[in-house]
Symmetry: C2
DNA sequence: CATGTACCGTACTGTACGGTATGATTATGA
DNA sequence: TCATAATCATACCGTACAGTACGGTACATG
């Protein structure tokens, strides 16, 4: 006999990801998804029992692939500023990518009705913030940063990273920033962050 | 003869605002909007020629009423920290209200396809940021804050205000914060902001 | 090679919705 | 008062789409 292949499943998910991020949940059509890969609706429904199920799988996969990968870049090191900077640059690049922008639009748009936003926030954003918080906690303990609530500090840092670009890009008020501009934006965020959370000159330690 | 009344128009817009913020653009139904106020579809179409037009009017009105009003709270004064704090408290209260949360979800959700997000960002957020920037510029000139790009400083401040609450509330990961908690959140944001943008001890001026 | 299963294509069902049509009723202003 | 326009109730049209049915074909495995 013949078996359902993982390749086919992935192809469907790829097409669905495109369709959902481009048209939103309601705007996306199951027939259109099928049309993107060529094949039959019956095959699609053989892999995913409903539009809702397909949607959830799409969201989960994007989160795992992109968001998680982005946050994993955090590296502990002696130079806190440099670690923050490197993380920030990677984060903003991913944050501006069409896929993630589409995902964020979806998550916000659906967050009023479904639990997908919740889920995405927990597995994506929150996990990343916790990673930063862990890094910051270590830096605080080692005396590289002043003592403070590491969770809140992490939220502040991510917010500062998002400050200049996230909303305008999502709202299509401006284009994604170039690498050079990203570097500047991150630099300003790090400056503000360290002014608040860095050890003050003359502090003991 | 009889005239179309502003009261009726408002009633329709109220019902439509509810429907849109609860169900999203696609999820909202013109018949359901009519059902909320009791009346006829024909009457609705007498005031608004299409769902799109109605939607735009709804969005404009919410922006004018809430966002603009919120940002207008900015008061110039000798005590910069106090001004920032007062503004922050007012801003976060509005930002957490069901109406504005629904609006933000809509704006994000539709930003991929329509221009409504763009429009909303310009008339809402951007206008507010500019107001803060103006305030900050004055404070900088008067020596209450260090010299810096006021626009970026304003973006940083708003981002810091949003850091702890905006996304979790929008994603329904947590309930809106109480007044007491809002005060704490704003306090932390102001502390970080002033650490970065306040005059350093010993600076001239 | 035979058979069970995936796959394709297409047509179909039921439903929901935006927008229109119609005709009766009610309030308003000249 | 009386004409005029707004309002109401309801039925209707066209369309789009989620999901199903069905008949036929390709393919892997026993």
């Amino acid at each position: 006999m013949r078996r359902k292949t993982e390749a086919k499943r992935d192809a469907i998910l790829d097409a669905a990801t495109q369709e959902f991020t481009e048209r939103g949940y309601d705007g996306a059509s199951m027939s259109a998804i099928v049309a993107r890969i060529g094949g039959s609706k019956q095959t699609l429904y053989g892999y995913f029992p409903s539009k809702d199920d397909l949607f959830v799988e799409v969201m989960m996969r994007v989160v795992e692939r992109q968001v998680a990968a982005s946050y994993a870049e955090m590296k502990a090191g002696p130079d806190v500023a440099e670690s923050l900077r490197r993380y920030g640059v990677h984060y903003l690049k991913v944050r501006q990518s069409p896929d993630l922008v589409g995902l964020v639009r979806l998550a916000y748009g659906e967050s009023g009705r479904s639990d997908i936003g919740r889920l995405l926030y927990r597995d994506g954003r929150m996990k990343g913030v916790e990673d930063i918080a862990t890094f910051l906690a270590t830096a605080m303990k080692e005396g590289a940063l002043r003592e403070a609530d590491p969770k809140i500090a992490a939220l502040h840092y991510v917010a500062l990273l998002d400050a200049e670009l996230a909303e305008p890009v999502t709202m299509r008020v401006r284009e994604p920033a170039s690498d050079a501009e990203v570097a500047e934006v991150v630099g300003r965020a790090v400056d503000v962050f360290l002014a608040a959370y860095g050890r003050r000159d003359g502090d003991p330690g």
